[in-house]
């Protein structure tokens, strides 16, 4: 009886030892944590992009690390960051301590990513941000390189470049309005959700729009989750704006576009409306989001380079929808992390950082290269401009999202024209033409 009892104790001890050593079981896999608001489209984009990358790499036998091949194992972490930033930091902590991931991709809200970044850096894990645009994320790398060097921006380019791209698109649309409607000076209403990433963009917009020969007639800051913007729209109409510069990443983009379209507010919408980037926008606005223009990363009919179409086709076939920019977890894994591992033959984060920050890589949305600050310190922030990443300007035209920018765009007088394959002309909403046509 005593021997029988001892036998069970030994068996139990063996199981416990195996359980404690569980992470070692996965030693032949590279663990990548995918963190994002998984109940929302942004998080689904993070996950789908990563799944596609992992499937592609594993199908070809895995990642070559020195002499052996290692498969990719994804770990999903729901950051719930739209609702609670604390949930996001807890999810990142879990990835580090329980799942013991080697890399992390994802994150969306700047407020949450700033907090998550600290945790990943404490554990010296490479974290490629695929969603947040606040410059501070990368300024930290320059200010305290030893601590923050493991962070890289994967997408989008920072909010300074986002706003610069928006200004270029506004100038393009402004010129069309002037020419088509005979306007002397285009009046602009700035409507920006109340969120941290927007604040530097508003300052820039206030200063730069007048330099573009346009007039700012007012700034409205609705809540990011406002469901009714009738009051704002009435005030904008009273201001006499011809153009509304939108800066929305949250749900407010839907009621704003829907109500503006239904009320036929005589002002075109240009800027950022993340909800308008999605396939579901037409249904969500009941078709009232017609003629809304927004910055975007991908469009079904636009090819930035030879990698765009295969990526889009596979993604649409696999998930039944056009990827949003958070699906750039695909590019982060397949074009950044994996080549760096194969080049160095190691998973050592310090060695990988050196390789990653020096590389320039072609990805489906352009070319990824990393900036340095004025003092030559690495920022790990994305380069912007022709030849690198420019993003797209897309517009909803009768139920279809089409690419309208860059279309014969010249970054400077002497620069060559940039037009991506699949671009179509911008259309002014008929009620705007009706209101202003002389």
């Amino acid at each position: 009886m005593k021997n029988f009892k001892s036998f069970w104790i030994i068996i139990l001890a063996c199981f416990l030892t195996m359980a404690v050593c569980f992470p070692a079981w996965g030693a032949d896999t590279i663990k990548i944590g995918v963190i994002g608001p998984m109940q929302f489209l942004q998080g689904k984009g993070h996950w789908n992009g990563a799944v596609m990358a992992a499937e592609e790499i594993n199908a070809r036998g895995g990642v070559k690390v020195g002499d052996k091949k290692m498969k990719i194992e994804l770990v999903k972490a729901d950051s719930n960051e739209f609702i609670n930033v604390t949930d996001a930091t807890n999810a990142m902590e879990r990835l580090m301590t329980r799942d013991k991931v080697d890399f992390v991709v994802g994150g969306f809200r700047s407020e949450a990513v700033l907090a998550m970044q600290d945790i990943a850096m404490d554990y010296k894990k490479i974290f490629i941000g695929c969603g947040a645009a606040h410059p501070e994320l990368c300024l930290r790398v320059a200010k305290d390189y030893d601590t923050y060097k493991y962070f890289f921006r994967g997408t989008p380019f920072n909010s300074k470049f986002l706003v610069r791209t928006c200004f270029i698109q506004m100038a393009t649309v402004g010129a069309i309005l002037k020419k088509s409607l005979g306007l002397e000076k285009v009046k602009v209403a700035i409507v920006a959700e109340k969120a941290m990433w927007v604040d530097p963009m508003i300052k820039a917009a206030e200063g730069f729009i007048p330099k573009m020969g346009m007039e700012v007639v007012g700034i409205w800051r609705p809540s990011a989750v406002a469901t009714d913007v009738m009051a704002e729209l009435s005030a904008i109409q009273r201001s006499g704006a011809h153009m509304i510069f939108t800066i929305f990443s949250s749900s407010v983009g839907i009621p704003f576009a829907r109500q503006a379209g239904e009320l036929k507010i005589p002002a075109v919408q240009v800027g950022i409306n993340v909800e308008a980037q999605k396939d579901g926008f037409w249904q969500a606005t009941q078709g009232m989001g017609n003629y809304v223009m927004t910055l975007n990363t991908y469009n079904r009919n636009v090819e930035v380079n030879e990698l765009t179409k295969p990526f889009l086709d596979t993604y649409i076939k696999r998930f039944g929808e056009t990827p949003t920019y958070t699906a750039d977890t695909y590019a982060a894994i397949i074009y950044s992390i994996v080549p760096a591992i194969e080049m160095t033959g190691t998973l050592d984060a310090d060695r990988l950082v050196k390789v990653m920050e020096a590389r320039e890589t072609k990805v489906p949305s352009g070319i990824v290269g990393y900036l340095k600050d004025d003092q030559g310190r690495p920022l790990h922030d994305l380069k912007w401009g022709p030849g690198y990443l420019t993003s797209l300007g897309v517009q909803w035209q009768d139920g279809k999202q089409v690419g309208v920018w860059p279309n014969k765009w010249k970054a400077s007088k002497d620069a060559p024209e940039v037009t991506y394959k699949g671009m179509v002309p911008y259309k002014i909403a008929p009620w705007v033409i009706e209101a202003y046509k002389k």
Binding site: Q39, R221, P222, T227, D228, S251
Partner: protein, 289 residues
């Protein structure tokens, strides 16, 4: 600009009034602080989305089904979860918070967090004194007045109304007079949640449908109820329009601070309560009931 503010506040106020009156009713009669009230409004919105978008029926059918489903759901959940703990006010409060969270999570699981919408009953808008107003908003405003009128008729002209009012005034005495107080409370819960469902039904074409859509109206509804005086239907009605006015005024007068509209409305509530702690139409002491 004043006209803009007035018209916008009438429309916003109607939504708050519909929600707050249902909430006041159940508090007045059964002393239940039903935090899940706006969660039923959210469930009704999803029902309408499901019936119109997935089953392809007209929004009116969706609205009828939505109101019926949430009323039934409300009465069932009341009988199962709330009635057994009704005498413990703190437990009821926590129980209804849990119920609201559970409904939110269920909707999140079924429909995900994506933003959705349903078509309006009547598309388009008209202009009044230069202010554009959706037909759907007009429907909401009229519906609020009609429902509130019907509710008043029910309370003042029917036996059930008499029972509800008697129970609201004094539960023990109503019980002694032969009224089945538990049944009256159940019917009141049904009416109250039907009002929440109806609000969801008329408002949903103007807003976006998502599992967290119950939170902002909850805060505003509570503010309206407290400002009007806990349990006072008349108070809720007036307070709804006062806070609706405050919200609209903020957007028009401080465009850069439009996101503060909720906070300003709540500050007004606090200010009024400092001067009149029982609210505009409330009763100073419970013994006065």
């Amino acid at each position: 600009m004043l006209l803009d503010i007035i018209i916008t506040s009438l429309i916003n106020g109607s939504t708050y009034a519909l929600l707050a009156i249902g909430f006041s009713l159940i508090f007045g009669v059964a002393r239940i602080v039903n935090i899940a009230h706006t969660a039923f409004y959210m469930v009704a919105a999803f029902c309408i989305f499901f019936v119109t978008h997935h089953l392809g029926y007209h929004p009116i059918v969706g609205m009828l089904i939505g109101v019926a489903v949430v009323t039934l759901l409300g009465m069932v959940t009341y009988q199962i979860f709330i009635a057994p703990i009704r005498e413990h006010e703190a437990a009821v409060l926590i129980g209804t918070i849990a119920l609201a969270m559970a409904l939110q999570e269920v909707m999140l699981l079924i429909f995900s967090g994506d933003y959705r919408s349903v078509p309006p009953l009547m598309q388009g808008f008209f202009t009044i004194f230069g202010v554009k107003v959706f037909y759907q908003q007009l429907i909401t405003f009229i519906a609020a007045l009609v429902v509130l009128g019907a509710l008043r008729l029910l309370l003042m002209q029917t036996k059930l109304g008499l029972a509800i009012r008697s129970t609201a005034q004094d539960r023990e005495v109503a019980n002694l007079m032969g009224m089945n107080e538990s049944r009256v409370a159940l019917y009141t819960v049904g009416i109250s949640i039907a009002l929440a469902g109806f609000t969801g039904a008329v408002v949903v074409p103007l807003t976006i449908v998502e599992p967290f859509m119950w939170m902002h109206p909850l805060i505003m509804m509570m503010a309206v109820v407290v400002l009007g005086g806990l349990g006072s239907i008349k108070g809720s009605f007036f307070a709804a329009y006062i806070l609706g006015f405050a919200e609209a005024a903020v957007v028009f007068l401080i465009p850069m601070g439009a996101f503060l509209k909720g906070s300003v409305a709540l500050s007004i509530m606090i200010l009024v309560l400092l001067i009149r702690p029982e609210g505009l139409f409330g009763i100073a002491f419970e013994e006065e009931r």
